[in-house]
Symmetry: C2
Subunit: 310 residues, 2 copies
């Protein structure tokens, strides 16, 4: 796994951590632009009324139809409701991180999402994040590659990380009203605090390694599938699957809720929505089609590393 820019000093505070996230944003944007051969990220810097701000970057390219790579570092006071939801002792908070959603042009390239973040209150701090893959067409080979890469990153830090965070992702990226997972999952984690087993440095190094794994993982899947031949049928299905992505993000996603309820910048929060989406009433897939194969695999508890088709 390619690694660069991990911070080597031992004192981690808001500034060093948010500076690292900014660098991660720069690196990821640069590598995605290199693939796009022409399209460039459009950048908007913004300030939050309650404190802090961010740097949103959106690309509309040949291979990435619409993609956002956002950095933010915000602070201020939480509403009473939000404080209760997050079960915090105080309402003062600081949050910084990078959020990415890429909607590819080709239906055979999966949608990807990553978030890495650091949260601080007056009493405590923790890291959180996750990365998950939403193929329009499930490819067991691609899912295996994706999970193997994530397991490699996790295993470098703790043998419990992958199984625990994989299950957490299955539960988190679940569209309850459809009884479907959003895609083939990935990993999700929150409240990674300092304790007898982990120092702050070790927690942060895990988050850095995960952030640095984003480009090698996604560029492999993009390069492999970006020129796959598709027609109207596949584009149609892609738009239906994007509809589900919208449903998850607007109905269930805690990050979206947190953003909208803390008066975050709406355009930055909703950059995760696809360029186009479609809803068809009571759409049924054909028997034994690749669309029905996909639906049959959007379940919790799939073991993508071994035998997914058993």
């Amino acid at each position: 796994m390619q690694q660069f820019n991990n911070i080597s000093i031992h004192q981690y505070n808001r500034d060093t951590i948010s500076t690292w996230f900014q660098t991660l944003q720069n690196n990821i944007c640069q590598q995605l632009e290199a693939v796009e051969e022409g399209a460039r990220f459009q950048e908007d810097s913004w300030e939050r009324l309650g404190g802090g701000g961010g740097r949103s970057r959106v690309i509309e390219g040949k291979y990435i139809e619409k993609g956002g790579v956002n950095f933010s570092a915000v602070h201020g006071e939480l509403s009473e409701k939000m404080q209760q939801n997050l079960q915090l002792e105080s309402n003062e908070f600081f949050a910084t991180g990078v959020s990415i959603v890429l909607h590819p042009t080709n239906p055979f390239v999966p949608i990807i999402h990553m978030n890495v973040r650091y949260f601080e209150t007056q009493q405590n701090w923790w890291f959180g994040g996750g990365i998950d893959l939403t193929p329009h067409y499930v490819s067991p080979e691609d899912a295996r590659f994706f999970h193997q890469q994530l397991k490699n990153v996790c295993d470098q830090h703790h043998p419990d990380y992958y199984p625990k965070f994989k299950t957490w992702a299955d539960d988190y990226f679940f569209i309850k009203h459809r009884q479907e997972t959003r895609g083939v999952g990935g990993i999700f984690f929150d409240r990674l605090i300092e304790n007898e087993h982990f120092t702050k440095e070790e927690r942060f190094e895990f988050v850095q390694d995960l952030g640095n794994s984003f480009c090698p993982i996604y560029l492999h899947l993009l390069q492999k599938n970006k020129d796959a031949i598709f027609g109207e049928r596949e584009k149609n299905w892609q738009l239906l699957r994007r509809g589900r992505y919208v449903e998850f993000n607007l109905v269930w996603d805690a990050g979206t809720k947190f953003g909208l309820e803390t008066d975050g910048r709406t355009e930055s929060i909703l950059m995760s929505l696809p360029p186009f989406a479609q809803w068809k009433y009571n759409y049924q897939t054909e028997l034994n089609s690749s669309e029905s194969f996909t639906l049959a695999h959007l379940r919790k508890g799939m073991d993508w590393l071994t035998d997914t088709e058993s």
Copy 2:
């Protein structure tokens, strides 16, 4: 205002009320099919695991690109959370009503939504509902017509109804994270109980008159605009406005939340979503365009009956 099928008996119970709603569904579907000259509603009857069921009808026509006219009559037990949200003394409920959302093909025809419903608990009963208009392009003339018709219905029942329910709609159909109203509003009301001013019969008659006003109101707007000439620019804008419709329904709409959290039939609840929608990052309208005119008018407190452009 055309009226038919109002129930003349004095005893209103679950059965007579839900039967009237079924008749309303029949009448509305019949009148919409008459305009479509060929397209027919597709019907699905469904049962709810917890009790009751419904009859969903969806049309994909020439003028109505995607439209749903749903009837349901459900009963059972509410979750503790839902009971608290609704501030009810008991968790047993019965709910019946008709819900309509029509997404027209032509961007100059507005999206319309109506819901009329009756709710019963062990302690109490009430009527609720509303009707609101979401033009892709605001036409003050059409908005005036729409509000005048609603005021006519309201005024036949109580002089306070229109002003009170109009303000309620402004507050309800509001996309908080965009600081925009969903459209030009309409009326919204809930918990219309029996008291010293109104009998159950009078409350129900108001709901019946409103239900019966749907076709004359919408068919006027549809006939007037359905053949207006439009191009790619207008279709593009329509898809963006439909994106906002999705945002309102999935993030803020209490009816959608109630449906999804009480294990309602997902396909029937989400029939309100448009056939296609679009999101463009940080889209800006041109100065002095009809798109910017529209945005400038999506505000609470507009007096559509008199001078909207002052």
